[in-house]
């Protein structure tokens, strides 16, 4: 993370499994965002969110990209600011994974190990079938979500977030 690049201290983590239908959207967004973000931004993938607390240790600003479900149309892009409070999972949104991303974020908050800036860019998923491709609506949202990630990082750099 260290260095003088404009993106130093910024981390993008795509969470999800590429062979589980729309769960692939987290890594897909991160992969595309890598081409859009400034030099020095670290981009990585995680199959599951349990290791995120270690992954973002020392980072100043983190964007996590993931599939989520909240009864909105598939492909809907959500931007959730995690530093201001818990993700609204109790209000109907369910984010994928056994030890969920929301759980890991709250664990980080309880341990006082959240990065100073943490945003989740999530895409509404429709299905998680093993060996199935992403739903067309979800795939179509990858570009928009990746540009959202780049926009969030740009806003941080410009101090307008």
């Amino acid at each position: 993370m260290a260095g003088n690049h404009p993106g130093a201290g910024v981390l993008v983590v795509g969470v999800g499994r590429r062979d589980r239908g729309d769960d692939a959207v987290g890594p897909a967004i991160a992969e595309r965002a890598k081409e859009l973000v400034p030099p020095g931004v670290t981009v990585m993938e995680r199959l599951e969110p349990a290791g995120l607390i270690d992954a973002w240790d020392g980072a100043e600003a983190v964007v996590v990209t993931d599939a989520l479900r909240s009864r909105r149309p598939p492909g809907t892009v959500h931007v959730l600011h995690a530093c201001s409070g818990p993700l609204p999972v109790g209000a109907g949104a369910g984010i994928a994974h056994g030890l969920g991303l929301a759980d890991v974020i709250e664990l980080g908050r309880a341990l006082r190990r959240l990065p100073p800036e943490l945003v989740v860019v999530g895409v509404e998923a429709r299905q998680f079938g093993l060996g199935t491709p992403m739903s067309p609506q979800v795939r179509a949202s990858v570009e928009r979500a990746a540009r959202t990630v780049a926009g969030v990082i740009r806003a941080w750099r410009e101090g307008t977030a």
Partner: protein, 447 residues
Amino acid sequence: MSSDGAPAGGQAGNGGSSSGSRTLHVPVLARVEGEASMHVVVYDGRVSEVELRIFEPPRFFEALLRGRAWTEPPDITARICGICPVAYQMSSCQAIEDACGVSVPQPLQDLRRLLYCGEWIESHALHIYLLHAPDFLGYESAIDLARDRRDLVERGLRLKKAGNTIMTVIGGRSIHPVNVRVGGFFRLPTAEELRGLRATLAGALADALATVELVAGFDFPDFSHDCEYLSLRPAQGYPIEAGQVVTSGGLVFPAAEFDAHVTEEQVRHSHALHARLHGTDRYLTGPLARYALNSAALSPLAAQAARDAGLGSVCRNPFRSIIVRAVEVTYACEEALRIIDSWAGAAAPSVAVEPRAGTGYGATEAPRGLLYHRYQLEADGTITDARIVPPTSQNQISIEHDLRAFVQPRLGLPAGELTRQCEQAIRNYDPCISCATHFLDLTVEHR
């Protein structure tokens, strides 16, 4: 579940009383990795059926592997589980090497064992501190535990990170290690890299011993089971990456005879196949089985920790499996240190593995139990058949049997409390249900 049908977990149930049955949905078993549901049928006040419905991905991967090259299984099967990729890599490498008639030299075997120690530490620490300890300490989740006992959760995360560090140094990446190949590794770690792990592991060993002490003090329900135990047993040491299969009934056989002793059958309620060990009605693999069949092979420190924790040479209370996991973390830390301290280098990162027609077998001890792979190759190394038997499908019949015995005397509990206790009981087995993406629902139906 209760007579007034109050839904457990605050979620409205379906089913409804108009049909004379009642079904509750409790989507709170999220602390079991992956997706599953538990279905309990109570008939006239008696538990008549307990079904653990799980979705199991190995079947998909078996099909995916057909037609692929003999070099591909370590990479492909590592994707089955985000928690235990090394187990899939090791069992697949062993099976392919067996098919090709290749033995990996001892230094590379040692490195594999070291990598596997990393996975045991990482997986067990995750399970003990983030998934299971909150049950025993009266917290809804690790988040609530962290608010009151930050020190405990930080210790768990430190241990987990120590395991991840081994996996990163040896495996190339902590999740889905990329440095593993049939025949060994793509790259050997340097002596300096290995020495660099020492301080982390020394700290982890202290944390592991403190973990044994912590979990030994938990209150455990008075419960025991009498199923057959099955695990590996190597010529030396505690079973991790090698060994013959042994059972508490006295069977001893190599991985090549696994199919002759264990058959899988499809059941109506689950995508998973249920494994049966011939001559028994159910068996269990995993920490309790490993410990019962190999406790004499523990290192002196781990054995002492087990004794201090009140474990005898055999433990048949599944709730106390959390102690066995902590003892195994202790052993894995010691074993990792031993391998690092005795490392004298290897001639090459891998040995050549030329394909040939044949069938190969591999069995290793994933954190949650024995993982069996079998591959059939054509002369050019194309895979024509693959079979993967994960621990959870082997354990499923025993889990259901235990849950039936556990639920019956607790039917009078309020719905929420019974659900909570069932979740805790399921977590005793650390079922790896595919590292999938969905929520786990519990349904209880009164007829």
